[in-house]
């Protein structure tokens, strides 16, 4: 081997050794066990400082299993909760780092809960701080708590699964319940800053009852809508008559005008919001029976076509036309009326359509009173403008309050479920 080849060989060895030491990231490595993962973060108004920050951190697994695929214990799996008063979110995280032995990491945070009080004061500065941060994910959810966010986070104690998985799953149930929305941080942030649509966030709360004897429907919204009894969506989070092992509730929406919360929608209005905004997927919905008083018909309602929305700006007095196209399968007919027949089927379709139409118009007028275009009708107006100056001159967010609404609901019952007709059970007193 010549001297030159030997030098080359030596140089290669040095380079490989250097690469092995410098490129393995051993210098600033962080072990998973050295980090404390925040799963839920709550922001309330502070008593001694600007905010009260609640951090719900993942409990370390008790040896062995810790991770995916292992058998999950059936006991309540809460979070390690710490509450701190601080001037900003990052200051709070920093302060918490001084007494939590592991380095706090928010890259696995699933929810950020703002109390109603904070939301009414405005969330813009906090949302910007979160968006700017590299650790926070844009897919985490923004929730508005009816009551202190601290209480809500302390109440997240799922029994069947770990809190992270529970939160991720429960926040996706709106796709088949219709009682919430996709209030991921990215959606909320984009809507909050939009000039043509305003923001909403899912409402959450802590269960209001301890025993069935405490149940009270005076907090239900059914009377305002003229329903004989509360239907499943006539509640806001925290007022659902329920007890049991799950202490938290998520139902309804917080409505925003810019960065400030201006109102609430219950579960039923939330379904109508999803329909008007074109985001409804499916839900089981209960309707009063059109032929028999105090009886109900339950339909499995699905979106059939995209919602058609047309807006005529009309010199600052917008006329908004919405056509909601749905289809449904029959889930239950309490009265035993044969709505499976052609004539009765059409009757039911017409009744449900007019029921939903009245509901949607009531809901839209509610948003008008809140001066908040949460359905994004402004986008239709924006599409009619030639340039940005023309769009700005239309001053949509202010003009929305002058809108008039015309809603049309087209509902077709496609399938009767697994029964083709309803036969009433005979009784001893004779006959049907």
């Amino acid at each position: 081997m010549s001297i030159k080849s030997r030098a080359k060989f030596l140089l290669s060895i040095i380079l490989i050794s250097a690469a092995a030491s410098f490129l393995t990231s051993c210098y600033d490595r962080t072990e998973i066990d050295d980090l404390a993962y925040v799963i839920a973060m709550g922001i309330d108004k502070g008593k001694t400082n600007a905010i009260r920050l609640t951090l719900g951190m993942a409990m370390p697994t008790g040896g062995g299993g810790g991770g995916g695929g292992g058998e999950e214990k059936s006991e309540a799996k809460g979070m390690l909760v710490t509450v701190i008063e601080c001037p900003t979110i990052y200051a709070g995280l920093n302060m918490a780092n001084s007494y939590v032995s592991k380095q706090i990491n928010t890259s696995h945070a699933k929810i950020i809960v703002f109390s109603e009080e904070m939301a009414k004061e405005g969330m813009e500065s906090h949302i910007h701080a979160i968006i700017r941060g590299r650790e926070f994910r844009p897919n985490m959810y923004i929730l508005i708590s009816r009551g202190p966010a601290e209480n809500f986070i302390e109440s997240v104690k799922p029994k069947l699964t770990n809190p992270a998985k529970y939160l991720e799953q429960v926040l996706r149930t709106y796709t088949f319940s219709g009682f919430g929305t996709n209030s991921q941080l990215i959606n909320f942030y984009l809507q909050e800053e939009s000039t043509s649509r305003q923001a909403v966030a899912t409402l959450c709360g802590v269960a209001g009852y301890k025993t069935p004897s405490d149940f009270d429907i005076s907090n239900s919204t059914y009377k305002q809508k003229g329903h004989p009894l509360p239907l499943e969506g006539d509640y806001l989070a925290g007022t659902i008559p329920k007890i049991g092992d799950v202490d938290i509730e998520m139902m309804g929406l917080a409505v925003f005008n810019g960065p400030k919360m201006v109102g609430e929608l219950d579960g039923n209005d939330t379904s109508l919001y999803l329909m008007c905004a074109g985001e409804f997927k499916k839900a089981n919905m209960t309707f009063p029976d059109p032929l028999v008083k105090d009886r109900f018909v339950v339909l499995d309602v699905k979106k059939s076509r995209n919602t058609i929305r047309k807006v005529n700006y009309n010199g600052g007095k917008p006329e908004i036309n919405v056509r909601i196209i749905l289809e449904a399968d029959i889930s239950s007919i309490q009265s035993g009326q044969n709505y499976e027949t052609m004539n009765n089927g059409v009757l039911l379709e017409q009744y449900v359509s007019s029921f939903l139409k009245a509901g949607a118009e009531r809901f839209l007028n509610k948003t008008k009173a809140m001066r908040s275009d949460i359905c994004g009708f402004g986008n239709e107006v924006k599409m009619q403008c030639i340039d940005w100056d023309q769009w700005q001159s239309r001053n949509w967010l202010n003009v929305y309050a002058n809108s008039t609404f015309k809603v049309e609901v087209s509902m077709k019952i496609r399938r009767p479920g697994l029964m083709i007709r309803s036969v009433t059970a005979p009784s001893a007193q004779g006959g049907q």
Partner: protein, 369 residues
């Protein structure tokens, strides 16, 4: 110089140019476009590309008699040795600014994206090592590497865009004319500098030899780069409405963070960090190679190797001059991508016109003699 012995084909030239022109799409290009044109940013990309296409067609026509000549050779033909030195120095400085700002930019982006606890000099060191290696091994390995890498980058880019489609909202593209033609056109005309990296095609001409390859490589790379620049701008606009779209710092990375399919398929932006690193490496390597080559050619230095260490230290040090990442970005936005056209298109056309006049006069004189 390698130019006497090395020759490469159309595909290699296209890959190099596409990598150089489209690299900006993964940095802050979409945001710059939105800043200037609002919701009509994508239309501006089309407008600027058509403008660039027109100018490049003119350059190709003027270039026809000067087969295998780069702008430094053109300077010599146009104004003798003095012309060579002037043209060479301008190109050296221009490519140098590109390389220096790119070195800082890519290193800073890496710090933001992945290596946030590492010192900036430590990250820059790796890019500098790549630049030195690239220069020592020559242009051939650089273009061959790009030719291998380009299909991988194109496929991963297309997958990336497809995964983002659930977030697209067409109403974000309205009002159709964005900030208005009166505001957009005066600002967008100099944005032809978005294609300023086409100068590397002119510098590559001695390696391509044939005019037909030179011309087709130019058009194909312009087309592919247009696809990249348009699709990234459109995707950004379809996801983030104006004026929120003026807020995001690294749009492509931030869009990547949105990709989320169920509980399993998420956080895939980490996979793209490799793409970012490789793109940065290619960009700085090519820039550094042509920077040193231009200097060597201008001053008649035959062996580039002794200059490598000196230029590496100078580039490394100059890259640290901007006080912050924002200052570096402003330098790029307000200088390179605002005035870059004067060198890439202005200087080249000027040299070509003078060189043609001189050649014709020379021919006429010969004929009359």
């Amino acid at each position: 110089m390698d130019k006497g012995n090395i020759k490469f084909g159309r595909w290699e030239a296209v890959c190099l140019l596409v990598a150089m022109i489209s690299a900006k799409s993964i940095l802050n290009y979409p945001r710059f476009q939105v800043d200037f044109s609002g919701p009509a940013a994508w239309l501006s990309v089309v407008f600027v590309t058509l403008l660039a296409l027109g100018i490049i067609s003119v350059i190709f026509k003027l270039y026809k008699p000067f087969q295998g000549k780069d702008p430094i050779d053109l300077g010599e033909i146009a104004a003798g040795p003095a012309g060579k030195i002037i043209a060479g120095s301008v190109i050296f400085l221009f490519v140098g600014v590109f390389t220096v700002t790119a070195l800082r930019d890519y290193s800073e982006q890496m710090k933001v994206l992945a290596l946030n606890t590492s010192p900036i000099t430590y990250i820059m060191l790796f890019f500098t090592a790549g630049m030195i290696t690239g220069l020592l091994t020559g242009i051939e390995p650089i273009v061959r590497f790009q030719a291998i890498l380009m299909p991988v980058l194109i496929i991963s880019y297309i997958i990336f865009i497809v995964l983002l489609t659930p977030y697209f909202k067409s109403d974000n593209l309205f009002p159709f004319l964005g900030l208005g033609l009166k505001k957009i056109i005066p600002v967008e005309l100099p944005r032809i500098s978005d294609y300023t990296e086409i100068i590397f095609l002119f510098l590559m001409y001695p390696f391509l030899k044939k005019h037909s390859i030179f011309k087709s490589a130019g058009y194909i790379s312009l087309g592919i780069s247009f696809f990249f620049l348009l699709s990234v701008t459109l995707s950004y606009q379809l996801i983030v409405q104006y004026p929120t779209s003026t807020e995001w710092y690294i749009p492509v990375y931030q869009m990547g963070r949105l990709i989320n399919y169920g509980r399993f398929f998420q956080r895939i932006e980490s996979a793209f960090v490799t793409t970012w690193t490789l793109t940065g490496l290619i960009y700085t390597c090519t820039g550094f190679y042509f920077m040193v080559s231009s200097f060597a050619k201008t001053f008649g230095i035959k062996d580039k190797k002794p200059m490598v260490a000196a230029f590496a230290v100078i580039t490394f040090s100059l890259a640290l001059v901007p006080k912050s990442l924002l200052q570096n970005s402003n330098l790029k936005g307000n200088f390179l991508y605002a005035w870059g056209w004067t060198v890439t298109f202005g200087l080249t056309i000027l040299l070509l016109v003078i060189a043609r006049i001189r050649t014709r006069k020379h021919k006429d004189r010969k004929q009359s003699a």
